[in-house]
Symmetry: C2
Subunit: 378 residues, 2 copies
């Protein structure tokens, strides 16, 4: 039985993780649950799964908890708990960095759906994993696809390039001159995936795809020039790996997050599931590939530049994007302002080479304030 | 250095195998070459690669051989030679059965491009491999694709089905009522692959795809109802594996036999090659899938029936097909006669359950004679 902790248990990833636990009740013991603000759902989850530890931003009277469940003082208490083998990291945004660092430092496996920490501090996380004996397992469907394609292969010696697929997001077919006026509701209509709000907006800007390039660079220790992106509307091929002998492998499946979540939860085993929908090649008929148009997706270009530049630029990229997307979702800025704010914040940033955790947290804070004051002043 | 023997060195597979040896001269020692009738090319190959052993149907004076090269009395002498690690089996048709059995019995690795022996005597070959410690490595692009997709996976427990792709062959777009009049030259125009004549005709009838289902059944120990076929015109996805968790893997590449040949030769390593062409998803644009039309491909249906029926039916399938294709290539019968002769021979056959090698050789001989006399009498 794997003993798991779920960070962000009331979010999209957390709820689907618990679906997997429900489907395999004998395989997992839910030791801890943590969520930010959805108190009612968290309490219902606690009653169903009887975790030892619970964490949320609110203080709760002990009598409202199921018997045997205690409130954790910090997320660190959860992610370093000796009774936890695997942490499902389903938090949203940069705030997931600290618990991920602590978990890796404590030698835990971390199934990582929360890509921002890898974007903002990839090198620190990989160092923490090496030092502490922890391991990052991809949950995001694209890195999971690459990971699955690499099973049984020698990654460093035999990979020519990784090819990450991109649906093109909610606005892929919108005329370029209409993009500035897009509403949050319109940008949240993802053509193939049903996900949380922040990542869905990042898909519309293709910032998310830039994040995935950065994520894959770190997770698979792959040079920048060996990670490519191709537009693939159907979201069936989740990503591909080209090997040095000319062979290519693709991992495919219906666009359903339960597959990569379950794969990471059971790794290195696969377990049968009748609930995850099947991809039928004949029903789909055709899988298409197109070059990405950088004019349509300036956030992608900016993300790659920040990734290549290194230092604290990727931190500022992620923090300014998170702040700008939040402002967009609240109706405070327009869709194209997301890129404008991210790019101008990066331009004004003085990056630190080989940043420490303090450097990263301080760059993160600086970038958030920079986006907010640029918005207030405009 | 791997010490290799090539059976069928002057054929399409043999020549491409030697291309790989030329590209990696420090990795392979060519210990033996064998070919049926192309004496000049065999001699040129012997001069270039200095094998210890040579075999062909002709008797040669010792002085015509390069120094250090001797004539092998039998193929058995080659395939059981203690100096040989890996045999590339590029012979054509059922005649490849005996040396393959002997090689497996002697504990050799056999890279198998010659699928007819597996079709006619799959169970015997797998038993010989188990007993002798030999191993069959797929070279055919479809089983090679499945094999590559299965690296790092638990085949028996986690595979839901294998999906073999089929280009549809040279006549895929021809109106059904024109197929009877097809000439050998027309049927040899394969849309995507450049291969030997026998297999190219088997592709036009889709008999070859039936053979691959039977081959995959044996190579991967997969029940019949877990091997499917889908029409895929581009011949880029060489085959797919669907796992029980809903995940699917595809192996892709330009249609070039050097890739699966090289993969089997280096297995379990991959080696970089700049000579094998690369598949560019954006240049291809789209990959399509269609259901196979059984009315267009009766040979495929008959092959599956013979495979399922077992006993000596698959032997008769392969022997009658080989004889009929030879007659078609010689202009003695029409294209649709291939299926007519194979089906009628199978109908008249009295199959033996759990056949011995003698049963198989006798069924093979019976089927050849049956096709020839049916042709002479018509």
């Amino acid at each position: 039985m794997k003993r798991i902790a779920i960070l962000g248990s009331t979010g999209s990833i957390g709820r689907q993780t618990l679906d997997v636990v429900r489907a395999f009740p004998d395989e997992f013991d839910v030791v801890a649950l943590s969520a930010w603000s959805n108190r009612d759902l968290l309490l219902a989850q606690a009653k169903e799964f009887n975790p030892t530890l619970l964490s949320s931003k609110e203080q709760w009277p002990a009598e409202s908890l199921p018997p045997g469940t205690h409130i954790a003082e910090t997320l660190e208490e959860i992610v370093t708990n000796p009774d936890v083998d695997l942490i499902i990291q389903g938090m949203v945004g940069n705030i997931g960095l600290l618990p991920t660092l602590q978990a890796l430092g404590a030698g835990k496996q971390v199934a990582m759906a929360n890509k921002e920490p890898i974007v903002m501090a990839g090198e620190l996380l990989m160092q923490a994993a090496t030092r502490g004996g922890g391991q990052l397992l991809p949950v995001d469907s694209e890195p999971s696809a690459i990971w699955q394609c690499l099973q049984g292969e020698e990654t460093q010696r035999t990979v020519r390039r990784l090819i990450i697929t991109a649906s093109g997001g909610a606005l892929r077919d919108l005329p370029l001159d209409e993009i500035a006026k897009v509403t949050p509701a319109r940008a949240l209509k993802h053509p193939t995936w049903d996900m949380g709000k922040k990542i869905t907006i990042d898909c519309a800007t293709l910032m998310n795809k830039g994040f995935e390039v950065i994520e894959s660079h770190w997770l698979f220790d792959m040079p920048w020039d060996q990670v490519d992106v191709v537009i693939h509307h159907q979201s069936i091929i989740h990503s591909m790996v080209e090997f040095t002998d000319g062979s290519m492998k693709a991992q495919m499946g219906a666009p359903d997050m339960r597959l990569p979540i379950q794969y990471a939860m059971f790794y290195p085993k696969r377990m049968a599931s009748e609930e995850i929908p099947r991809f039928d090649p004949i029903a789909i008929g055709s899988l298409t590939f197109e070059e990405m148009n950088p004019d349509r997706y300036p956030c992608f270009v900016t993300a790659l530049e920040a990734g290549h530049a290194g230092g604290t630029y990727p931190t500022v990229l992620s923090a300014s994007d998170e702040t700008a997307v939040d402002l967009f979702l609240k109706g405070r800025i327009g869709f194209t302002d997301i890129h404008r704010l991210v790019a101008s914040t990066l331009e004004r940033h003085e990056s630190k080479e080989r940043p420490t955790l303090e450097d990263i947290l301080s760059a993160d804070e600086w970038a958030r304030q920079a986006v907010l004051s640029a918005t207030e002043n405009s």
